[in-house]
Structures are given as C-alpha cells and as structure tokens.
C-alpha cells in the first residue's frame, strides 16, 4: 500500500507568470508558513514550559523561552502512581475498544454489503436512524448507570463506542467495491461465511482495517466524555480525565487574579502531564498520517 501523503494533484505545467504572480506567490507561501507556525506554536508552549523551573513559572508565567529549564516536573510526575495508573487505563481502553470496534463493525458491514443478504435496506435504515435522531444524554446515562450497572468500570469506557455507523459505512463502501467472484468460489468449496471472511476478506481489507483502526484508536485515546460521565474512582481515570481534573482546579485559581498566590507550584507538573498525554500521538503521527488522509478521502466520497 503505497499511498502518497499528499493527494496526487493533476500534473500541471507552470509558467513564469507576470508581475502580479511574482508578488502573489511569495505571499501565498508566507500565509501557509504563518498558519503552519500558528498550528505548532501551542505545542511548543506546552513542551517548553513543562521543562520550566518553579521559579521561572512563578516570575514570568508561561513563557516562550523560560529562564530556567529543569526535569523536575517529569521526575515528580514519574515518582507518583497516578500517571502510570492513568496510562494503563487509557492504553487498555484504547486497545480493547479498537479491536472490538473493528471486529464488530467489519462483520456488520460485511453482511450489509453482501449480495445474498436480503435485509440490507433494513440494516442500513437501522444504522441511519440513530445518526439522525439523537437518543439523548439522559437515556444513555440511565442505561449505563442504572440498567447495565457499569458505573466505575472499564466497560463503560469501551462498550458505548464499539459500533460506529460512520466507520461501518466506510467498510460497506469498500466491500461493495470487491468483486463478488472472490467469495463465490469459496462458497462452492463449502466454506461458510465466517471462514470466507477470515481467510479471504480480512487479508485483502488490511488497508481499510488499518485506517479505521487508527480512527478508533484516536477516538478512544482522546475521549473524556465517557469517563466524565461514568468514572469517579481515580484508579480508573484515563489520561484525559486526569488532565481535565487538573485543569478545573486551575480555572478556579485563574479567577482570583490579583491574589499573590495565583500560581500553584505544581504548574509544571500539569504541563508535563499534557506532554505525556499527547506524546504518543505526536510520535506515531508521522507514521500513520497517510492512513488518516486515506480515511478522510474515503469518507468524503460516501460517509
């Protein structure tokens, strides 16, 4: 699968251009550079200030270049237990959710796209309705807390996102593009659909599986909605909720401005938490970016 990161634009012949172009093109380049820098700048602030010393933070606040750099925040953070606990929770939820989500949606979509299935229309209708008419927060909350009794369990962070209609439809459009003869011959050999799916369909859909899998992983890694609703026990805090809790304390301190004690000493620790939370994404990003681009272009063709 050699998919270019930049969608292939038509080959065009460029010409020198007149005066207006010699002025316009550098301006266009400048706009792009400035926007790109604006995209990177907040990341820079987070990273560099997570290395700032307590005194530097207290004196200058968040700076573009702190006067004193130290590893103290990280050392402090890694001595505690919470960071490791939260990493464990986020990693578990992300892996379990991604695997389960892929299996469930891929199978469902395979049936939906299968020519022998007589209920394709009914199944897609069933999938569309929730996208159109929201079932709402209250019913969802009662379901998880009162009927399934999943409050303060990892299940509450995994199960609700497993079946994703959008991703199912991306699978469907892929399966529809496959030649039907592929599984026709296998059916003649007497293999049942589960075997055909596992032996024939799964290997050829690796690129789509990779793309959708990454979308699932990103969703689970970044989610804090489910944990905000269903988790009170700090042993089950995923990274994002941990951050959220740290932040809500910060906003309170931002309100009593003018007070001398506005900057809690643990400021650097919080920034270090941010960096450790987005760290894995930033490191994996260059490797997986092309799959996301592929997913977006697939999804835009038909959601």
């Amino acid at each position: 699968m050699n998919h270019p990161i930049v969608p292939v634009a038509p080959e065009r012949k460029w010409r020198g251009g007149g005066l207006s172009e010699r002025i316009a093109m550098p301006l266009i380049g400048l706009f792009l550079i400035l926007f790109a820098l604006a995209c990177l700048f907040p990341f820079w602030l987070m990273v560099v200030n997570s290395f700032a010393g307590t005194r530097s933070l207290a004196l200058n606040g968040y700076a573009i270049w702190p006067s004193e750099l130290t590893l103290k925040s990280y050392r402090f953070l890694l001595q505690g237990k919470q960071m490791f606990t939260s990493y464990g929770v986020t990693a578990t939820v992300t892996i379990a959710g991604t695997v389960a989500g892929l299996v469930v949606t891929a199978l469902f979509a395979y049936v939906l796209a299968h020519p022998k299935n007589r209920y394709g229309g009914l199944l897609s209708f069933m999938t569309y309705v929730p996208m159109i008419f929201g079932s709402g927060l209250v019913g969802f909350y009662l379901l998880v807390v009162r009927w399934l009794h999943l409050k303060d369990t990892l299940w509450a962070l995994v199960l609700p996102y497993i079946m994703n209609p959008f991703y199912a439809f991306i699978f469907v459009s892929f399966y529809r593009s496959l030649p039907h003869e592929l599984n026709e011959s296998a059916t003649v050999d007497g293999a049942n659909e589960w075997v055909i799916f596992y032996k024939i369909i799964r290997p050829i859909s690796t690129p789509v599986i990779a793309t959708i899998g990454l979308f699932y992983a990103l969703q689970y890694w970044n989610d804090w909605w489910l944990s905000l609703l269903f988790v009170d026990n700090s042993d089950l805090y995923p990274l994002q909720l941990l951050l959220r809790q740290l932040m809500s304390q910060m906003q309170l301190t931002s309100l009593n401005h003018g007070n001398v004690l506005t900057l809690p000493p643990a400021e650097g620790v919080k920034l270090a938490t941010v960096c450790l939370t987005i760290g894995p994404i930033i490191f994996v990003y260059p490797l997986v970016q092309k799959y996301f681009v592929k997913g977006l272009t697939l999804g835009s063709v038909k959601g």
């Binding site: 038509p10 460029w14 008419f133 927060l137 906003q251």
Partner: protein, 304 residues
C-alpha cells in the same frame, strides 16, 4: 414465510455475523430512546422510569417559560454558524494555496503540520487556551504588559469568547477540512488548467476561476453537512475550554452543556430530558431538510 425461513437457514452463517453489531446498535442507540419519556414524567430515581408520575408538558412549560432556552439555542446556532463559515474559509485558502505550491517537500510539510491539531483532544486544547489567555500568567497578557498595555481579564469577559472559540476551531479543524478539499482538487481534470493557461490565465486567475468554482459542490456539501448538525453543540470543545466558568455562560453555553449540567450537577433528569428531546426534534428537522437540499445538489453525497 416459508421462504423467509429457508433463507435464514441457508444463510445462517452470513446473518450471524451481523448479530454483534445489531446488539450494540440496539443497546446503545435504541434503548436510550426510552429516556425521552422522562421529559413527560416527574422522574424520581427511587421509583424508576415506569413508576414515576406523568407530568404532562410541565417540564417543557418550565423550560420554555425561562430565558435560558433562548440563550442556549442562540449560542448553539450562533457558534456553529461562526465555526462553519470560518473553518471553511481558512480550509479553502489552505487547500487552494497548497495546490499552487510546486515544492513537494514544502507542500508535504505544511500539510502534515496543519493536520496535526486534529489529533489533539479538546481537554488539551482547553489547556493550551488557558496557557495563552489566563488572567495572570497567560502568555497573551504577559506580552500585553511588555508592550506597556493593560492586562485583559479574558476569563471574565464573555464577549471575547465567541472569537477565541472560533480561532481554536480554525486551529483544530481547518487543516483537516483542507485535506478533504485537496482530495477533491486532485480529482479535477488537468485540461481545465491547460486550456486556461493557453488562453493566458495567470495562476491567480486559475485559482479564482477554475479551482474555486469547480470545488463548489464539495464546499456546499461540507457546509450543509455542518448545518444539518447545527442544533448540536460541540460538548467536548465547549466544556473542555470553558468548563464550569459561569461568568462566560452568556456567550458560550450551548444546549449540550446546559443539559449536561441539568443532569450531572442538578440531578434533574426530567428537565434534562425535556431539553434533550427539544434538541433531538430540532436536530431532526434540520438534518432532514438539509439532506433534502443535498439530495438536490448531489445525490451521491446525501446522508440517507
């Protein structure tokens, strides 16, 4: 009937593959619909949904008699309109400009960088906003002071937040939208540019008179998809950035954050579900009407 049964038996393996998906759909998307009933009840946890007394339209009467519903509805629509417009404008600039760039490495680098913020959670974005704007130690106020200006109380000034939220939204999603647009540009025929070039069109003219008009269907579809969800505020975004800072509610509180607070902080299930039902119904009307519009413009892009 007999034929149906025969079909089920013959294709039992095939149909069995859909069961997990159906179960998850039913449990997490259909059963919660029961929650809408609470809007018409006077819900008490101890008595459960079925045991609680009917309240008729009391919950709605209460919700619509106050001023809150106007405020949260307005904020939801207003913020979404701002987001849809400005995201699209920036995405268009990025995509059309990138399309004119010849240096491959430059194009590739810019594209990677502007796509990056899409991968960051709203909690982290909220944190970044705080680092930039907080009243005492924020970078912006720090720079203002260095320029000899007064520090500004961003977190206590409601009117600036629609602007800040729109900027954050551009920061986070313009790059992502531009990739969808770039893919559409890549599908345009070279011939258009070729003949325009022969007629002496400059690059600027090509952008304005070829790329932009040819992208029109794609732009309209993307905008309508956004408009179809106009009654749904972005909870993750608003709550991640604003949180429980009540001073900012007048300009930032959307239906989703309002119903969340009604449920989680006030514990008023019936009230919350009245708001949520109102939102679902308005959302349904919006998505159905805009889908009809999309269907007219481009059949393949419709949602259903």
């Amino acid at each position: 009937m007999k034929r149906l049964l025969k079909d089920f038996v013959r294709n039992r393996y095939l149909y069995s593959m859909a069961i997990p998906g159906i179960v998850f759909l039913v449990v997490f998307s259909y059963i919660p619909l029961v929650g809408h009933l609470l809007a018409f009840k006077n819900f008490q946890i101890s008595r459960g949904i079925w045991g609680s007394d009917w309240a008729g339209l009391d919950n709605f009467r209460f919700f619509f008699s106050g001023k809150d519903w106007i405020q949260v509805t307005f904020n939801t629509l207003y913020l979404n309109v701002l987001f849809i417009i400005f995201e699209m404008i920036f995405a268009l600039f990025i995509a059309i400009f990138l399309n004119e760039i010849r240096l491959k490495w430059f194009k590739r680098t810019v594209q990677s960088v502007v796509f990056l913020p899409y991968f960051i959670s709203w909690v982290v974005v909220g944190y970044m906003t705080f680092v930039l704007f907080n009243n005492t130690d924020g970078l912006v106020n720090h720079l203002l002071k260095q320029l000899g200006l007064e520090a500004f109380n961003w977190y206590q000034t409601p009117w600036v937040w629609p602007i800040i939220l729109t900027l954050t939204r551009i920061w986070k999603s313009a790059g992502y939208l531009s990739i969808i647009l770039l893919a559409a540009i890549a599908g345009l025929s070279v011939d258009y540019y070729e003949s325009a070039r022969l007629d002496g069109a400059t690059r600027l003219q090509q952008m304005k008179y070829i790329t932009l008009p040819l992208l029109k269907p794609q732009i309209i579809i993307l905008i309508l998809l956004g408009v179809g969800r106009i009654f749904y505020g972005d909870f993750g975004m608003i709550y991640g950035i604003i949180g429980d800072n009540g001073i900012l509610f007048p300009t930032t509180d959307v239906i989703d954050t309002y119903s969340y607070r009604a449920l989680r902080q006030l514990g008023d299930f019936s009230m919350s579900s009245a708001i949520v039902l109102y939102q679902s119904v308005m959302g349904l009307i919006a998505v159905v009407s805009f889908n009809a519009l999309i269907r007219k413009i481009d059949k393949d892009s419709r949602l259903f």
